[in-house]
């Protein structure tokens, strides 16, 4: 992990323009991602957590250039891909793949499982013959714990967990170095969730994969990630190595997120400070610290001045005036 990072994201911004009327005049701006920086090393998992609407999925998609960034740079192995043209980008796409949340809507129901997994091989002209590709697909099936004879089945014949395995096999097909996992287990039952998390961990150990693991379930992130970034309204508000973050959260938002997680132990009755209200509208964000409207400790300064992400302990960053 100490080597040069595989992925380096700096000051990434993605704003969506809201248009209105016949001539499409700009009526507003959604600051979905607003100045996010992080890096991911080889065989490392970076967890990205936050409530819905905080911009975590947009980060994942922008990093892959499925969305074009408004500003900022994305370096993959030292090459900036943030403004690269589609043709130049194509070979680099092989190094970066994505696994989606919903294994039901992310697989084409009319394609056979083997063709879904092998599609990228044909697109990128990997393997000389059809049978080469077929053999590679069979290998991928066994990597993710599916049977070879299932290559001829259609997605509806698979259970949710198996479909997610198909998604993983497809993402692995081009030997990527980094996989963006966008809520990969949140649609699955706990017993199946455990199977998929273990599979992801095994694949990481076997192939040295790096993951950007986007999730809202903090317990899952704590289990799988090495470092964790907490996002709120388009910005990273806290960033730390896993153990540090979960044992010594500094930002009040992280604190309340951790407090809100239900504990599967009825003997623990914790008294919590409930976070009130919902995430504010990203079109019209609060001034100063975006979190001040819900923060139990907010002071006058928080309403006016924006806090910057600063080091509060070695390797531990937090954006809060009070720390």
């Amino acid at each position: 992990m100490s080597d040069a990072p595989i992925l380096q994201v700096k000051d990434l911004k993605k704003h969506f323009l809201l248009r209105k009327g016949l001539f499409g005049g700009v009526s507003g701006r959604v600051h979905a991602v607003d100045g996010v920086s992080f890096d991911i090393g080889a065989a490392e998992t970076l967890g990205l957590v936050g409530e819905s609407g905080c911009g975590k999925s947009t980060v994942g998609r922008t990093v892959l250039r499925l969305l074009n960034p408004t500003a900022g740079t994305i370096h993959v192995h030292g090459t900036d891909i943030s403004t690269m043209g589609a043709r130049a980008l194509r070979p680099l796409r092989r190094q970066m793949q994505i696994i989606f949340q919903d294994p039901f809507s992310s697989l084409d129901p009319r394609m056979k499982a083997g063709d879904i997994v092998g599609e990228l091989l044909s697109v990128h002209n990997v393997g000389d013959t059809r049978s080469d590709r077929r053999a590679r697909v069979a290998e991928l099936f066994s990597h993710v714990g599916l049977r070879e004879d299932q290559m001829n089945s259609y997605p509806h014949e698979f259970s949710g967990g198996q479909r997610q395995r198909l998604g993983i096999a497809r993402a692995l097909s081009l030997n990527p170095e980094i996989i963006i996992c966008d809520e990969p287990v949140s649609a699955l039952d706990v017993s199946i969730q455990a199977q998929v998390i273990n599979l992801l961990a095994d694949l990481q150990a076997e192939f040295g994969l790096s993951y950007l693991f986007i999730a809202h379930d903090l317990a899952v992130v704590e289990h799988i990630a090495h470092r964790v970034a907490v996002m709120y309204l388009g910005r990273i508000v806290e960033f730390a190595e896993k153990h540090e973050l979960f044992s010594n959260a500094q930002h009040p938002y992280t604190e309340s997120l951790l407090d809100a997680v239900p504990v599967p132990d009825p003997t623990i009755k914790h008294t919590r400070r409930r976070l009130q209200g919902d995430v504010p509208n990203p079109i019209d964000r609060p001034s100063g610290c975006h979190f001040h409207t819900r923060c139990p400790y907010a002071e006058e300064r928080c309403r006016v001045e924006e806090p910057i992400l600063k080091e509060v302990a070695p390797g531990h960053l937090a954006a809060c005036h009070l720390k």
Partner: protein
């Protein structure tokens, strides 16, 4: 506690409920001889994976199972001195939303997008309590205030899309509780919500339950939610009850291999903190191998046997009965509890 002489007041008594579905592959039992009861003011958690029959149980109690293909094949659901399975559809309509009401997982799809919140809340009030329009509206505003929706006078005139997910779920709760039901069935009420909002909604349900004395059936797959909210828990697998216990006893001494598997497969917050250095591989989560069998292929013996590490010939041969354990009120359906309990 339940074996005590001074028994608490039972509001709903479900006995041997069986619901079947006609599928292209044949007849499948979604709920297979399920029995349980719930007391006034109690929260009963029903847990299990998708496809184990939790939601169909709820729909069967309210007789809302789509028919065909579904059919309530047997059993009784006693509310007070009436058996809901025997009364007419007309009488049943007086029960729904009045004596028993339900909140669903996805508040956007279960609210009508073209009607105002006020209309949707007052609909039940006017139907069941015969209130005039302005009285009903006043009550609706009161209910919205009760579920802590800010500016209820304004919200009452708004449409569902104008509310956030958490607010919609609050509005659903307001609607469900407007007629002061004896039983509230909450089917995955917080699954679609963020943790912070989930915590708010669970607090709200608990708080209202204490004030109104409603019995709550909480259907969820989240063991954390159950641990924090329920007093008693039923674990379901393939349409059957495999374990039933007071919540403390279930988490302290899970008896059924399936329950143990579920508990072990949940990643826990703080489980890894300080345990080992950062770059070591994460510990493996316990898995339950395999998947829930489809309805038409439920094994004849113990339904969990094909996924169970302890399974023996006896398990595939005969279905284990639900038996009392050494812990009071704790019942389990497993042939090998002696082996499991380590």
């Amino acid at each position: 506690m339940e074996t005590n002489s001074q028994s608490p007041e039972v509001v709903l008594d479900v006995d041997n409920l069986t619901t079947e579905f006609q599928t292209p592959e044949g007849l499948g039992r979604a709920v297979d001889g399920l029995s349980f009861n719930i007391n006034k003011g109690e929260t009963l958690g029903i847990v299990g994976e998708s496809g184990c029959g939790k939601s169909i149980t709820a729909l069967s109690i309210l007789r809302l199972v789509p028919s065909p293909p579904g059919n309530i094949a047997g059993g009784s659901v006693r509310l007070g001195n009436r058996d809901l399975m025997q009364i007419s559809e007309r009488e049943m309509r007086d029960v729904r939303g009045n004596d028993i009401s339900m909140i669903f997982q996805e508040p956007m799809t279960s609210l009508n997008p073209v009607l105002t919140l006020g209309y949707q809340i007052t609909e039940t009030l006017r139907r069941h309590e015969g209130l005039a329009k302005h009285e009903a509206t006043a009550r609706a505003i009161e209910m919205l205030a009760l579920v802590q929706i800010p500016a209820p006078e304004r919200r009452v005139k708004e449409f569902p899309h104008q509310l956030s997910g958490g607010m919609r779920q609050r509005a659903m709760i307001a609607m469900a509780l407007s007629c002061n039901p004896r039983v509230l069935i909450a089917d995955e009420p917080t699954t679609a919500l963020d943790v912070t909002v989930q915590a708010q909604v669970l607090d709200l349900i608990k708080d209202l339950q204490e004030r109104l004395g409603t019995a709550v059936i909480l259907i969820t797959h989240d063991l954390g939610v159950v641990a924090e909210t329920a007093q008693r828990v039923i674990v379901m697998y393939a349409g059957r009850k495999v374990e039933e216990a007071p919540v403390e006893s279930l988490f302290a001494n899970p008896q059924h291999p399936y329950t143990r598997g579920l508990l072990a497969s949940v990643p826990r917050l703080g489980a890894t903190t300080g345990a080992h250095s950062s770059d070591s591989r994460p510990a493996r989560l316990a898995e339950i191998s395999g998947i829930v069998p489809p309805l038409t292929e439920i094994p004849s013996g113990c339904a969990f046997a094909p996924r169970c590490k302890q399974a023996t010939e006896k398990c595939t041969a005969a279905q284990p009965p639900l038996e009392e354990t050494e812990h009071p009120g704790h019942r389990v359906a497993c042939w090998h509890t002696d082996k499991v309990a380590v």
